[in-house]
Subunit: 466 residues, 2 copies
């Protein structure tokens, strides 16, 4: 839609296109000024941007340009920008900074963002940055770093509002107004007992809509969704999503309130975890277009080599039927069809199963039903494709028996594909493996070799070739 | 981790496993009671569950069991449960209800959830439900239904808090306390001018931390992220994520505040849109394991037929080299390797490109750089795989020339795969097509036919066969 439709609403910033992406002209302008040595001019262009857009700008320019740009707009490169930046790009920029510069940035951040900033540094650099920090910040970050990577303890912020049960609305408001240095980044107030165990949660809107004399104990919701401090971030994200949480209390092993996670720290994890499956299933690892070349190569070549071995299995099947192919070259012409369509059918089922497992839709309770369902879909697909391919092959090669053989092979392979597509991910999940990582190799191997085996085997067994 | 580690924190409900999934024993218990006709017993089990878990329960049991379960726990099936339920399962249950029952449920919901409940009904059923609603609810839902599907207008709720700029903190708090019937489902207050245009946003925590005499105009953030009422939900989700929003004002074409979207309505869209790419790329449509069988069949078979045509192109390439294969059956044995690894390499690049486009990481500004990057990765992968396959083939078939031919073909096909893997999605996006939907067909067709062409063509050109 055109900007002019929004006559009186603030327009989207002129630097952005209708999808909130930085316009290419704008990016070029900034880089032209940087490369012409006009740092002040570049800074003038970048200054009005939202931190998320400054982060995008760094992602969009080339690695060489990033360093020059960083020098030109150094004072705009604050914690907010770094916490919005792609991991690889941030790492590269951070590596180029001195420890005291990194410490300056980390000091401005919430604990969770500061941890994200320095957790990937080399150990000695990390120590140097920590030494340059304020003792308070340093203690908080060091404690966060004791939790496993990608756990709630790394995600949480320590600044939160906790009040005793016997306070009333008026006392809470007075406390919030009078106390210096409290965070403003909170959406709920936690009610704790004298041992600092969370006993209830109160949305700020309830506090604002309630008379001053009402006690917290009357106002708070007692059913809380608590996050154990060592819970994996993927589980945290699922829990936020399932229970539509805005913030949640993080508790230690003794059940004491130690931190808070807010939904704005979770949305990018939800997006990342959900989007990651397509990368993992395709064998591209967790990489994106900003991943260093060497890392991308290593992640992908490993998977291509794994697939080379599965392709060898398929080739071995073909080799066993070398004589049959020499006798009837039509088999060589048609055999990739059986394997290719089977592979596609398997990938369809596998994608559905992997997503269903990732979103907790597919559990032990409905595994059998899901397998039956996928076989039913495979049967319908298999019959349709078998008829098309069988009739086509019979006509093109004027050989009805060849048509019957490829039709039967097609149906068999699509059924096997449906079964493998759901069984492989389910079994991997039961074995505590990530189904998205390893399923493809096994499913493809199955559909490739079974496709060739069914087609060439049936050709021999039915006497189509000797 | 075991439950016992959380001694004093409320335990996760006993019906759930450590991943917040309903335990299979629990599901079986409920169904056993339903099937034994013990509705009261089933209700007793279900009653303590969170609405999200009740929704999960319905998803986990079979379609036949769902109806009996719904009858047994009818009074627990409120709007919260339906708004958490999988679309297909909800549709099926709603179809089985009378219009006045649907209206009862819709009346309890926020506008956005009520719209989600009835938007997929047949037109005459929808009218019957609307007639049975309160006039106020009916008007709100009818207005929401005038906006396009999957637009901000359907997602937004109309209940929000808007205050004039000249009010101070005290006036806002007094208004919130004194006014009956205001929503409590808000996290920010919007400041509007006399024409109801939003001019600023105030987090509730700022109001709570500020003395009563401070005016809204001093407190509000003037840079707001406004959502046009007809913006697509995917764009809304990206905007929430990019700017870490908790709630946002929705404005009509004249820039007037007409509604509000909160992040809890967005997280499942973020998850769905990000997770959808793997389903679309695999050709499984937007289906999940709860999709009706016929819909799954139609969505998937269409794509298998499309792939049948791409496989025919590959077969035609092979057919052109029929004489070569008859002469050297090793070609038939090895040719699937070239196509298969090429296909995998193409899928890797394609997955990375599709995600980069979906997350606005890949824009016009870095397209060229990304293409160069992917070709560089392809070159490294290609050389590695070419050496492995070439040496292997030369040794196994005692034919160095065959090894050289397959190595060259492998390298060529992986380079083509890298190029197609990024160019196809980028071109589709430029043509305003969803790259996730159509990329696979084109990339697979390219890598299959180019793989066979390169391998068999080089075999002939180099004189390996006549």
């Amino acid at each position: 839609m055109s900007d002019s439709e929004f006559e009186t609403a603030p327009l989207p910033p002129e630097q952005l296109d209708e999808d909130d992406r930085l316009k290419p002209e704008f990016v070029r302008n900034v880089i032209d000024r940087v490369e012409a040595g006009d740092a002040a001019g570049a800074r003038e262009l970048v200054e009005p941007l939202h931190p998320a857009d400054v982060a995008d700008l760094f992602e969009l320019v080339s690695p060489e340009q990033r360093r020059a740009l960083a020098a030109a707009v150094a004072d705009l490169l604050d914690g907010d920008v770094f916490s919005e930046m792609n991991d690889w790009v941030r790492e590269e920029l951070i590596d180029a900074l001195e420890p005291h510069e990194v410490a300056d940035i980390a000091g401005q951040l919430e604990t969770d963002d500061a941890v994200a900033l320095i957790e990937d540094l080399e150990e000695d650099e990390q120590r140097a940055v920590l030494r340059a920090l304020d003792p308070d910040d340093r203690a908080a970050i060091e404690e966060a770093l004791t939790f496993p990577e990608e756990s709630a303890g790394r995600l949480m912020q320590r600044d939160l509002i906790a009040v005793p049960e016997h306070w009333n609305v008026g006392q809470v408001i007075d406390y919030l107004r009078a106390t210096e240095g409290l965070t403003t980044d909170f959406w709920e107030v936690f009610v704790v007992d004298p041992q600092h165990h969370p006993v209830g949660t109160i949305q700020l809107s309830w506090i604002l809509r309630t008379p001053r004399h009402i006690p917290m104990s009357d106002l708070m919701k007692r059913e809380q969704t608590l996050i154990p401090v060592d819970m994996d971030q993927e589980e945290v994200a699922l829990r936020f999503q399932k229970y539509a949480l805005i913030s949640a209390a993080v508790v230690d092993h003794a059940g004491r309130l130690v931190g808070m996670i807010t939904v704005d720290d979770i949305v990018h994890i939800i997006q990342q975890e959900a989007g990651e499956d397509v990368l993992l299933l395709s064998g591209a690892g967790e990489g994106d277009i900003n991943q260093p070349l060497r890392d991308s190569y290593q992640a992908r070549v490993r998977w291509l080599i794994a697939n080379l071995f599965t392709a060898l299995v398929a080739s071995a099947v073909i080799a066993a039927f070398g004589a049959a192919i020499e006798q009837m070259v039509a088999l060589a012409i048609l055999m990739p069809i059986v394997a290719s369509i089977g592979g596609n059918a398997g990938t369809q089922t596998m994608a559905v199963a992997v997503r269903a497992l990732a979103t907790n839709q597919l559990t032990q309770s409905n595994t059998i039903r899901t397998i039956k369902r996928e076989i039913a879909v495979a049967l319908l697909n298999g019959i349709t494709i078998a008829v098309l391919v069988g009739v086509g092959a019979a006509l093109v090669f004027s050989n009805p028996q060849l048509g019957a053989v490829i039709a039967a092979a097609m149906l068999i392979n699509i059924l096997i594909a449906g079964l493998a597509g759901v069984l492989v991910p389910v079994l991997l999940e039961r074995l505590d493996q990530d189904p998205a990582v390893a399923s493809s190799v096994f499913v493809t191997m199955t559909t490739d070799s079974m496709g060739f085996l069914a087609f060439l085997g049936l050709a021999v067994v039915t006497g189509l070739v000797r």
